[in-house]
Amino acid sequence: MTDRLPRSLALVLLALALVLALFPVWGGWAFPAKHAFLMQKLTGVMILAVLAMSLDLLVGVCGLVSLGHAAFFGLGGYWLAMLSPQYEAANLWVVLPLALLGTAAAAAVVGFLSIRTSGIYFIMVTLAFGQMGFYFFNDSKLAGGSDGTYIYVKPAVELFGRTVVDLDSKVAFFYVAFGVLVGSYLLLRVLLASPFGRVVRAIGVNEHRVRGLGYNPAAYKLVTFTIGGTVAGLAGFLAATQYGFVNPAMLSWHQSGQVLVMVILGGMGTLFGPILGAFLLELARMGFESLTEHWLALLGAMIIAIVLVLPRGVAGLALDLAGARRADGGEDPE
């Protein structure tokens, strides 16, 4: 990935972000009948975009193809469900850090065990841990088993006894999701521009050379895996807050696979690509669904067409159009 986006592309992305940010204003005018539904839908897509971006950090940047990433997404949600009192609001300043810490700890353990393997074996080990997480919540009595469990009252966000943000408000929550999306994007960009991030990116391009330069790739991979898992946990926390509900499907390999599709479709290793991928996949699904009952075939055909026509995803096309030179000259030798 390039350190700086080409100016024209940055402007287009900024414009898209503005259009999205103002949706609560213009959406009601453009889609009067479906505004509430679209608000909710877009909020959900922004949360998925955060999840996709966190997976891109592993897959696209560091070369760690995980097929169990949804486990941390689900875990973030389950921590909220398990920490919330049944009929009262939980204190966000308590449950959010606890949920993130809990997810980070799980990601560190899974990462520590998984990074011993590489290639397709890494894909399968992460799948195995993801499935173990799925069956753990699905088959045990903890938190409702396969039925999942409800979070009846959304967490309270208070400062000095006053409510700062009312998470029950659809508009407020839309902006919370938007803020988290933009915030995590900027944070990850800063991280990747740092000396730490440069090593992580180098591992994604050629791990042997990084080792040859005297770095220990395993330590960098473990930290990256933990950060990715924690951001996924944050997305899961938001998703559980939005729907007031968690179930094991959040951790399933279907969810992991779908997020991976968003990352590849959008363009790996670019961070903004997976965001576009999340919007493309979810909006295309919605569009095809309203068009025909055979939408699944259309979605499949669209994915196949994009693979054949756009080898580096939507972001690759965008970067080509903006005239960016490819930052990495070489291929990963295998």
Binding site: G257, H294, G300, I303
Partner: protein, 286 residues
């Protein structure tokens, strides 16, 4: 627990394992030789099962339906390789994952359009619709035994083809060094097409044969796909012997897990895989 009950569980585990081997062997060969991660492999299993259900209803005979479904699955497999997969050999594995994921969606939609969303049962053929009485209360269905026999025979045949024939030699050579094989003047394009088609046909056959035991339902391809990936990785990618032992291991672990610790049976399959990979990071026989 008495010895007959234990024997029945062993037979069930072995039968499930052999069935998994049929699907997993194609998966491991396609990855080992062609370097393609084929997520749509489970869809061939589903295709075989639905073809068996549909053709059995049309012809009135399950064996005829199974035999007819073989060339259809092979043809579909060959066509997909020739039209889509062939363009991706030089591309990243993740592009293949994405493309074959798209194929799964199309297969599932086709299944919905052609055969609907119901669960279908398929009758056991008359000649095998009896049971072997083991004790007063325990019996073992003849069809399951025959199914294990057919799968075992296929496994032996596959071993023979791979270990003892010229075609098998190409396949083994292709798995260990693709460039060298094409440098020696073997038509790699054709070899890949045939391996893909045969893999598809065997997966379809597994689906067709298991239809009377497991019934036919939407989404059956994906569940078998994930388990078969577990099998392939435990055995070591590209190793048919590894796939065989991995399949038996998973078949028995799943069956006995369901008997003794039903809450943790599915969990245990993945725990076995994680343990194997942490012990041997490239599988048992890579």
């Amino acid at each position: 627990m008495d010895v007959w009950f234990f024997l029945i569980q062993v037979l069930n585990g072995v039968q499930y394992g052999l069935l998994l081997f049929l699907v997993a062997s194609g998966l491991t060969l396609i990855f080992g030789i062609m370097g393609i991660i084929n997520l749509a492999h489970g869809s061939f299993y589903m295709l075989g099962a639905y073809l068996a259900y549909w053709l059995a209803a049309k012809t009135g005979s399950l064996p005829a339906a199974v035999l007819l479904s073989l060339p259809i699955a092979a043809a579909v497999g060959y066509a997909i390789e020739a039209v889509l997969v062939r363009t991706l050999y030089r591309r990243d594995h993740l592009d293949q994952v994405l493309l074959t994921y798209g194929l799964i969606l199309i297969f599932n939609e086709a299944q919905k359009v052609l055969w609907g969303n119901d669960v279908h049962g398929v009758a056991v053929p008359q000649a095998l619709a009896w049971s072997i009485q083991l004790t007063d209360r325990l019996a073992y269905p003849a069809y399951r035994l025959a199914l294990s026999g057919v799968c075992a025979a296929l496994a032996v045949a596959m071993w023979f083809v791979i270990a003892r024939t010229r075609f098998g030699m190409w396949v083994r050579a292709g798995a260990s060094n693709r460039e060298m094989v094409s440098a020696l003047g073997i038509d790699v394009k054709l070899l890949f097409g045939v391996v893909f088609a045969v893999g598809a046909a065997i997966a379809g056959l597994a689906g067709a044969l298991s239809a009377p035991v497991n019934s036919v339902y939407p989404g059956m391809g994906e569940s078998v796909l994930i388990i078969c990936f577990v099998v392939v990785v435990i055995g070591g990618v590209g190793s048919v012997k590894g796939a065989f032992l991995g399949a038996l291991l998973i078949g028995l672990a799943d069956t006995f897990g369901k008997v003794f610790v039903p809450e943790f049976a599915s969990f245990s399959v993945y725990a076995v895989m994680a343990a194997v990979l942490l012990w041997k990071p490239r599988g048992l026989f890579a």
